[in-house]
């Protein structure tokens, strides 16, 4: 049975996955086992994305299916369930930019890969990143931006982190439509990721997951 949910979700069979979860819940199975299978399926989705078999719509759709499964499972979960997390990441779209599709996909993939992500949303001022890093002690910061004006915002955000004395305590990744190695150098980030899987790999290499 377990294999069925993993492959149904990994193959993006929405109806089938929902049916399996329903059956398993009705059979009184531990909801954590179901979520564990879902996580394994999302790992496969990530691998397929990395190998070029899956694309952005597939990631989005897998997220939608997972949302449905989580909603079904949630009422049966006990509140004390603690999930092991690899590390903390502060994430947001930089000041002046309100694009969130890319950011949301990256946050989702980081989350399903075991990171605790603090998503600050869009058009986030530099100070907010600084505050959140202080508050959470996060070791990784992700800056997203679609517009070219994000180049300057990213640079200013990283400078604000530096002025706050936090630069050597965090690793910073940037990404988004017009971001490349040139912009990484300009902004002073540690790395640039071209997609969600790049972001996951970077985070794992930094935190050692």
């Amino acid at each position: 049975m377990a294999e069925d949910l993993v492959s149904a979700l990994a193959d993006l069979e929405e109806k089938e996955a929902g049916k399996i979860v329903e059956d398993r819940l009705n059979a009184g199975e531990d909801p954590l086992k179901i979520l564990d299978d879902a996580r394994r399926a999302l790992e496969i989705v990530g691998e397929r994305f990395a190998s070029g078999e899956y694309f952005i719509p597939d990631l989005l759709y897998s997220g939608e299916i997972l949302k449905g499964i989580t909603a079904m499972v949630k009422p049966r979960l006990s509140k004390t369930t603690a999930v092991r997390r690899l590390g903390k990441i502060v994430f947001g779209t930089v000041a002046g930019d309100i694009h969130d599709i890319g950011k949301d996909i990256v946050v989702f993939m980081l989350d399903v890969n075991g990171f605790e992500v603090y998503d600050l949303g869009v058009d986030v001022p530099a100070e907010k990143f600084v505050e959140k890093i202080k508050e959470t002690g996060a070791g990784i910061v992700g800056l997203s931006g679609f517009l070219t004006l994000a180049f300057e915002s990213m640079k200013q955000t990283i400078q604000a982190i530096k002025y706050a004395g936090l630069r050597d305590k965090v690793k910073i990744m940037i990404g988004g439509g017009q971001i490349d190695e040139q912009v990484r150098g300009f902004a002073g980030a540690d790395a640039y990721g071209k997609d969600a899987i790049d972001a996951v790999n970077l985070a794992k290499s930094w935190i050692g997951g």
Partner: protein, 445 residues
């Protein structure tokens, strides 16, 4: 005797459209040199599109929307609300930088019109985002999942009574009017008029009138600029604009997320919708080109880029109707200008299907060596000057980048030097370097 339009071949139609563009009707050239520059620029454009002969040199288009105002310290907010200030920057840009073509300031839009209509699909500078931020699309489902049948049945009615009320706050009452196709013959005219007596509907109509008045004042200023720019010897390079049918669905109607999910959940509806929108997209492009007297039809491409969908999805949902739009425009003598932001490395095989000299493709992050090899010998290509380099690099780096582009993509003609994306900002030295270097090194010997 001159042939009637409908009797002309596609080639003859395009020739006639280029002639209209070249003739610069109504333009007072400032001096003979300006006239010669204008004609040389149009000729150069025609040469790269037709691919029959090598132009005198590589033409250069610094494609900017808010870049030209930015170079003169005019913020996006000012550009959208102070048309004179914005146009003055546009004119200075032409004078100081000497581009071969200008990108029309129509793309900036006029803030007051959006305010009157209470436009919701974009955030505008100074309205919930900084005055220094450019307008940005607000992702949402402006058409709901169960509204596909209504769209497919009658797109115009759907726009008028569903999309416009939703996307423009001031036009919300338009949902109260009845479809105009109800209005047949004497017995139904009187009843059809009833909703127009309702005060909210009248307020919506008043908003349209007010917006219309603003639009008229604005376009007169824009036209003043356009005639002035042409008089200085710089042609505008866009006639009409249209979109890939899938992008109309994905950008304007359903939003990115929902459209991507629709490809799995309701693929038949997506296909029917894009097919329904296709003839409308062709017609829009042709009408614009005719009205503006310029054959070039701007087509910004969005949701079909590498990574945004699989090859199978591109082949099924995106490409067939885009191809039909390109062929439909070309058949009417227009020059589709595909503006391909992001990368298209995995789509080049499809582009090979297009007939020789039928359109032009301007790339952002696509590998230009592969592009030249795949389509560059029969279809005009361009672009690829990266925004990151333009905004953070040095003039020397820009020159080196452009040199390589001219050597690789410009070899044998058929290449337009152009920014890879529509620029919102500029760094003066780098923009100069891109233009000046192309004019110098891009001469074909």
């Amino acid at each position: 005797m001159e042939k009637k339009w409908e009797e002309m071949s596609a080639v003859e139609k395009r020739e006639a459209r280029f002639e209209t563009w070249m003739s610069a009707a109504g333009v007072q050239f400032h001096n003979p040199k300006a006239e010669a520059n204008y004609k040389a620029a149009v000729t150069r454009f025609k040469d790269i599109v037709q691919m029959e002969k090598v132009p005198d040199r590589v033409p250069v288009l610094p494609f900017g929307i808010f870049m030209q105002p930015h170079l003169y310290g005019v913020t996006p907010y000012e550009a959208m609300y102070d048309t004179e200030k914005m146009l003055s920057a546009q004119l200075s840009f032409i004078k100081d930088y000497g581009p071969d073509y200008y990108t029309t300031p129509v793309l900036v839009g006029y803030g007051k019109i959006f305010d009157i209509l209470d436009y919701k699909q974009y955030k505008l500078p100074g309205h919930g985002i900084s005055e220094k931020s450019v307008y940005q699309y607000v992702e949402d489902e402006y058409m709901l999942a169960d509204e596909y049948p209504a769209l497919i049945q009658d797109p115009t009615d759907f726009w008028l009574r569903t999309l416009m009320p939703r996307a423009y706050g001031a036009l919300d009452p338009l949902k109260m009017i009845a479809p105009f196709t109800d209005m047949w013959e004497v017995v139904l005219v009187s009843t059809q008029m009833i909703p127009f007596g309702i005060p909210p509907v009248q307020a919506a109509l008043k908003a349209l009138l007010d917006a219309g008045n603003e639009a008229m004042a604005w376009i007169q200023k824009i036209m003043g600029f356009e005639m002035q720019a042409r008089g200085m010897g710089c042609p505008g390079c866009f006639g009409g604009a249209t979109k890939a049918p899938f992008d109309i669905l994905g950008d304007t109607l359903r939003g990115t997320r929902a459209t991507m999910l629709d490809m799995y959940r309701r693929p038949d509806m997506v296909l029917k919708a894009v097919e329904r929108l296709t003839p409308l997209a062709i017609s829009q492009g042709v009408r614009g080109a005719t009205m503006q007297g310029c054959p070039v039809v701007f087509i910004p491409l969005h949701k079909g880029a590498d990574g945004f969908m699989s090859d199978a999805q591109f082949k099924e949902f995106y490409w067939p109707t885009l191809k039909t739009v390109i062929l439909g425009l070309a058949a009417e003598g227009c020059v589709p200008f595909l503006f391909c932001e992001g990368s298209y490395n995995t789509r080049l095989e499809y582009l090979k299907e297009l007939p020789e000299a039928s359109c032009m493709w301007i790339f952002d992050r696509t590998d230009m060596t592969r592009v030249k090899e795949a389509i560059g010998k029969k279809i005009c290509i361009g672009g690829n000057v990266p925004s990151g380099l333009l905004l953070t690099g040095t003039p020397e780096e820009i020159k080196a980048y452009c040199r390589n582009l001219i050597d690789v993509a410009g070899k044998g003609g058929g290449y337009l030097m152009c920014t890879g994306t529509a620029m919102d900002e500029g760094k003066a030295d780098n923009v100069h370097a891109m233009i000046d270097f192309t004019k110098e090194y891009g001469v074909y010997k």
